[in-house]
Subunit: 260 residues, 4 copies
């Protein structure tokens, strides 16, 4: 537990898997998409990643148990697809640059060498002061610009996003490129929301087209609604939990379970 470790739950032979990475971040866009996929498809947990670079926290579970903060790899085998999907999500990203380099390197190595995968989708938010009434646009950045032709059937916008991609959504792509794997970072426009479900929906729809997997939007819309309600509730609660750090429970971190 002193080093970043990926523990594989079972040995599996995967069919040319793709990796979808949805972790906490700007607008929690990636995290929301990942949690939706988890609720929309049967999943199987295949590996867990722990790291001393994650925040020193433990999740209190509904059943009275606990779980160390970590990232988890889930297998999704959709009958519509010939390829397996591996979904990576979790409670946290590494908190320092050094930790980010270590964790994201391990993720790419694991996906390439242990799971035999060759294409990665990282999902995140693109922070603009967008008009919340408009539909959020989805921007894309690629390991190799030539890959853009593979996304012709989508509305992903290439070459218009500017600035920096922070954290796993960027570094996983950069390390993939260095290790000769391809990938795309898909970012939904987002603004001032901590949890932006409509940006997540936009990304999910483009992801759906990209991988050729139809997704029931009714379930998706329910989540948007639920989230909107919970966000409001949390905002109300939040005023009471200003204190941070130290030992003990922190209900200020009490997000709806599909965005943990």
């Amino acid at each position: 537990m002193d080093k970043t470790t990926i523990i594989m739950k079972k040995k599996l032979k995967l069919k040319d898997p793709i990796l979808i990475v949805g972790l906490p971040g700007i607008g929690n866009v990636g995290k929301l998409v990942a949690e939706h996929l988890k609720s929309a498809f049967p999943t199987q947990k295949i590996a867990v990643l722990y790291s001393p670079h994650f925040p020193h926290q433990v999740v209190m579970l509904k059943n009275g148990g606990i779980r160390l903060v970590g990232n988890r790899f889930y297998l999704i085998q959709a009958k519509e697809l010939k390829r397996d999907i591996v979904l990576l999500t979790g409670e946290a990203q590494a908190v320092t640059p050094e930790g980010q380099y270590e964790v994201n390197n391990k993720i790419v190595d694991f996906f390439k060498n242990k799971l035999g995968g060759s294409f990665i989708y990282t999902l995140g938010g693109y922070n603009v002061s967008r008009n919340m009434a408009d539909a959020p646009k989805v921007y894309g950045n690629l390991t190799r610009k030539e890959m853009a032709t593979n996304f012709k059937n989508t509305n992903i916008i290439f070459g218009k996003s500017r600035g920096m991609i922070w954290g796993s959504a960027g570094l996983i792509l950069a390390f993939a490129k260095m290790k000769k794997i391809d990938g795309i970072c898909m970012m939904g426009e987002t603004g001032f929301l901590d949890v932006d479900a409509s940006s997540a929906k936009a990304v999910l729809l483009e992801l759906s087209k990209s991988i050729g997997l139809p997704i029931d939007t009714r379930n998706l819309d329910k989540i948007i609604e639920k989230t909107a309600k919970l966000v409001k509730e949390l905002e109300k609660q939040a005023s009471g939990f200003a204190q941070l750090g130290g030992t003990g429970g922190q209900p200020g971190g009490d997000r709806p379970i599909y965005i943990r």
Copy 2:
């Protein structure tokens, strides 16, 4: 001294020991309980833990001496119990995630492998905006949910606490679980107090029931009173000590000795 080190003072054969962890944290609940146990029972210091991940401080002692900031393991052999109690307390927790992982790992390893223990109680505060007039509730989280039956004679509430447990109270439990030891984190409701003695009393009473060890509450109440008085005094003093960091003495850290 460059690495986290546990120095054992004497070799002992303990009787199926339990570990009680009370360190500084939210409301200083765990720390207060630990200091009360130290004053309520004869104790024997059996080991000291030093770490470069603790704050770079030295405690000024009443006798004019000094002590490096650290954690200490005390042995309590209560005649009412067939098992030995090992109490862990100290001035600090590690300040970084990496430090927290290292220190708490070592604590669990030491307790399991050197002391031969198999059950851990970590104590802390649960941060809510509670009505200070109500008696603080005590919440519990377990390494395994099935353990809840062992706490039927208590008023510990399982499965209702939400969010994250920060620091040693959480990580020690998580590492215990990974290393196949059982444990519970007991958290007393607390709010805006830096030192919440009534929350600590609530936790102490549940701990007393849990381990089957009667504890004289008069002494406990005296501490609550004394703390309340000292807290007021400290609040008065505090206005004068805004400056932080650097070399030299810092009476701003001058807590009553039973909560150091």
Copy 3:
């Protein structure tokens, strides 16, 4: 990718090269000069430096691709000079003291041992509350004071700058001195601008005299103008991008490409 690494693109035999270091920093003076040199002369990328001590970011490229944040070494072979110029620039400096020591040590070692160089120019800003109407002065500090005679044909002011040089501009010089290479840190007066092009112009002119390489100032002035315009634009945009951190794109980092 877990350690600071310099990847050499091609093996070259350089002619007694000098190193010019222009990285982001106070007023972005060094960075601006470096980007101007890149636009004023044909360059050849000869090496890339990556480090886990840089911010955990990826640059979104105009062509829809990405680039891991890093530093790059460019070769400039000006026909007016008998010596080769190696220019070091990039998006970032290391964010911790430990990272700064590691990265800057590697830079000096690489320049001395792999490129066979023996003189280093580091460029930066000197933070004063200067009257923006006055021409910015240029201050110099040397690895050895005797070297000042080599700069007699310039207006660089020696022995009048006070205080500390932060980051690469200082550490590279200090490590050069320890490794028996000579060098100068040239600092242009700057004040409250994030991107101070006129301070950069002042430094560039002194650099030009120092190395004996004439530089077309028209191009330079265009950059000053463009920058001024872009800075204004950025200031306008900036109000919309207060949120920081997390995963995803951050157009708040959207500087004009010649100062990235």
Copy 4:
């Protein structure tokens, strides 16, 4: 340069040396005493300590040169004393707990093993809201309380200081104790001044009595006066230098040379 290193300038056989540590810290008390000793006695630089845990800075020297931020050991051989004095001072302390542990451990090891010393004086400020009109008291803490008898001829107050000693003044003492060397931390009362020369004078006088070395107070008073004047000047200047970090010169760090 990647690790904390002590470079010895010359091999010397010292006469039962004592170590006096005066580094930047609360009120810059220790630093001021050290700089006064340097100006009051002939000194010889015998060793330099560099560390990647110090701030990533370089000092701009009056002669136009530079110096990497570090700590320096000076030898003072006063004819009044049979023992040699080694004075440790410099521009900085380590900025992280891990760095503090590493650097201060190395200092004690070096003094004990390379210089053959056996007693250490660390100097610092004791932060109280003192009435600036009163003479500052001097508090002491010892590696062993029995040592107090050795300080009977002084006005050092033992057993009354409370709270924590931060940084080198505390850790060096703690590590000395662990490595079976004795020592004292002498702290002068100080309040809101960044540079408290009268607190330093109080400490210097007690140090003088402790080691039996008379010190000309005229020179001392001059420094107090000069400092007072410079502090005022700095306060005036300070308003102009709010910006921090990045590459380049920082005259905000431009303290009078005897407190650098």
